[in-house]
Symmetry: none
Subunit: 402 residues, 2 copies
């Protein structure tokens, strides 16, 4: 069913929903007869929820498709990630904590190396270390362009994000990276007459930046691409009538949450317990909590099987703090799989647990793990089905038709 139809069926109720996303939760056994990270982890609390609730597995996009973090989260929030692609510039910018509002233009930037003729010799500036990249970004921060505001932030190594804010800006611009060496970076060109002024403004910023970088041994030039503005996604309030809050340590996930109208809860620390305490403090002010655990994904990307297991166990140990708030609906899942065996995001379906004591139909599963989820009562669902299921179990959807 389409989002606008879900919206039309949404109603209010005095119920609270928690969606805990352990990033990259899904895994693989290292040897074919072994266990996955989640199956290996000792998770007595989640296993109890699995016995009382229902399991399934979600496909973030469709079978075989590996999602980035942006689309993977959008799907879980109920927004079709294939129909609503969030521009790379916006993801890069919100990933480092920059705000991107309607009308702003966000871009991804790369430092590069050019020769004395100005032709590119290395598109990634010899992959300069992050410390160097960060110090260069500091040098570029003072650049001022009349009529607009610019904000730059380092991402990592040779990468940075830049946001331009002002009136009548347009992201309809061609990228400056020629995608090969031996030629100069391209000037910013407009794809439409309305974007001419924005092209001029970016060219002005680039020329000032090039002067500052001119004496660098490696990163003596730059390219920009991925121009994008706030995609204007619908918010939780308008989609579902939910006052929604985000509890996340990493800027990227706070940024995605802000794009769908969630408030970001501020808190100190970065342990699961710190996050659950933040949920507790905000409990009375919101109907929906998105709680994000990052390190399952980080250890997966590092190929650190044991590290990922430990993070999952840490979340499980802290879980009673969340449960004592008595959510009406608690869902535990990942945005995608990040098996340590593959050291990257993957396409494998994601374990999904739904616990809702008043309304759930329990299945036959007795622990939280990939194999149990593949036999779960919910079967294989799409991440787009997650929000309707959450609303239904929280008595927040009325009947369709008579």
């Amino acid at each position: 069913m389409k989002l606008e139809q879900i919206t039309a069926l949404s109603t209010t109720a005095d119920t609270k929903i928690v969606l805990m996303i352990m990033d990259g939760l899904g895994g693989l056994p290292v040897s074919l007869d072994g266990l996955t990270e989640l199956e290996t982890a000792k998770t007595p609390n989640m296993d109890q929820l699995a016995r009382e609730g229902i399991l399934g597995q979600t496909n973030p996009i469709s079978p075989g498709i590996t999602p980035g973090s942006g689309p993977a989260h959008l799907g879980l929030f109920g927004i079709d990630p294939v129909a609503h692609e969030v521009g790379r510039g916006v993801l890069e910018a919100i990933g480092v904590g920059l705000d991107v509002h309607k009308g702003d233009v966000a871009v991804r930037g790369n430092f590069c190396t050019v020769d004395t003729l100005g032709n590119i010799t290395d598109r990634r500036a010899g992959r300069i270390p992050s410390e160097v990249g960060a110090s260069l970004v500091e040098k570029l921060k003072p650049i001022k362009i009349e009529g607009v505001e610019t904000e730059i932030r380092h991402v990592k190594e040779y990468r940075f994000a830049l946001v331009m804010r002002g009136k009548n800006l347009s992201p309809e611009l061609f990228e400056t990276d020629p995608q090969r060496t031996g030629v100069a970076p391209l000037p910013v060109k407009a794809k439409s007459p309305e974007a001419e002024r924005t092209a001029d403004l970016f060219n002005l910023w680039i020329s000032k930046a090039m002067k500052i970088l001119a004496d660098q041994p490696k990163a003596n030039a730059l390219t920009i691409r991925g121009y994008a503005t706030d995609p204007g996604l619908p918010g939780y309030k308008e989609m579902y009538g939910l006052r929604a809050a985000c509890v996340a340590v990493y800027p990227m996930y706070r940024g995605v949450a802000k794009l769908v109208g969630m408030d970001v809860v501020q808190f100190e620390g970065e342990t699961p317990s710190d996050e659950f305490s933040a949920v507790a403090r905000a409990w009375n002010d919101y109907d929906f909590f998105f709680v994000h655990i990052k390190k399952t994904d980080s250890y997966g990307e590092d190929g650190n099987f044991e590290g990922k297991v430990k993070i999952i166990e840490g979340v499980d140990q802290a879980l009673p703090e969340l449960l004592q708030l008595k959510p009406d609906v608690l869902m535990i899942t990942g945005d995608h799989s990040t098996p340590a065996k593959l050291k990257s995001h993957s396409w494998h379906p994601v374990p999904f647990l739904l616990w809702a004591p008043a309304t759930v139909r329990p299945d036959m599963q007795s622990y939280f793990g990939e194999r149990a989820c593949s036999q779960g009562g919910l079967g294989n669902i799409y991440s787009l089905d997650v929000m309707p299921l959450a609303l239904a179990h929280a008595n927040r959807l009325i009947k369709f038709g008579a």
Copy 2:
């Protein structure tokens, strides 16, 4: 695959299909470690069919969406219930046994209370008892309007259904219920010039009705809304080449069956055995039988877990009468779930059993129940998949492509 493609693949065969819908069949355990209504019921015959056949669970619309009876049945009949919404007036009218044909306009009516200025003081006429409502409808039956035929029937309490039949009628009308008190009922107004005459005819009917009701203590006025005509759904013959019959006790389900071109089999009594006898008598005249059992839903709505269990057991006891007819395909399912625990329709998937001795691929399940169905060989399907599966198992679908 789309309906027109299913139609293109449909072929004839000398096989018979029975679709038995136990309304609201899906349930929930009252306590999280308990059994559902269907799991609790002793159903040796259905369990035998489960062992010989294949199980699955159906989603009437999509995960999380609770359907009304109209859309839930349409889906099982192979018609997309989201794309083909049947108007409220039509559902109300067929629910009390009124026929609605192409060009008729059916509406829902409410008795209401107005003060001496004609302003509404109670939109539901103080929720008059059904006996009062029924006697008022009797008083309105003699109303005649020149050029059209009108038929009115009581629904319950303050509600009635009215059908107007004649030439060039249009349902493009605004409702007369102002949705608040302190103002008078609105006159019927047309949304388009073609509907002007219909508006006049309804206004004429209303003015005559108001005179008859004028001296009533509570129900001294009325409002109408939900104008709709026969949605023009495709019939079983044209969709699937099936001569289809409906065996149902309640008018609503006979009405929905008529909308898709089924013949309604008349019979005495209302037990499962009475219904199966009716199927037996009509056996040679039809290829497809829709058998509807209502009381599973009624007891579910009442919150009567044990009552629902007993109804299921009663159906199981009578089942040999149906089996001795030797259907080629027998499907047993519900249109949606109505857990006694929730006392209402719900979004939970519906247990589905398909038995077809000549063509079925049996799975590993050994009884008919929600948990077994969640592990069934058919997996999670949409109710729209049911008719293609029925046709296939009855050798009534040819190969797609070479």
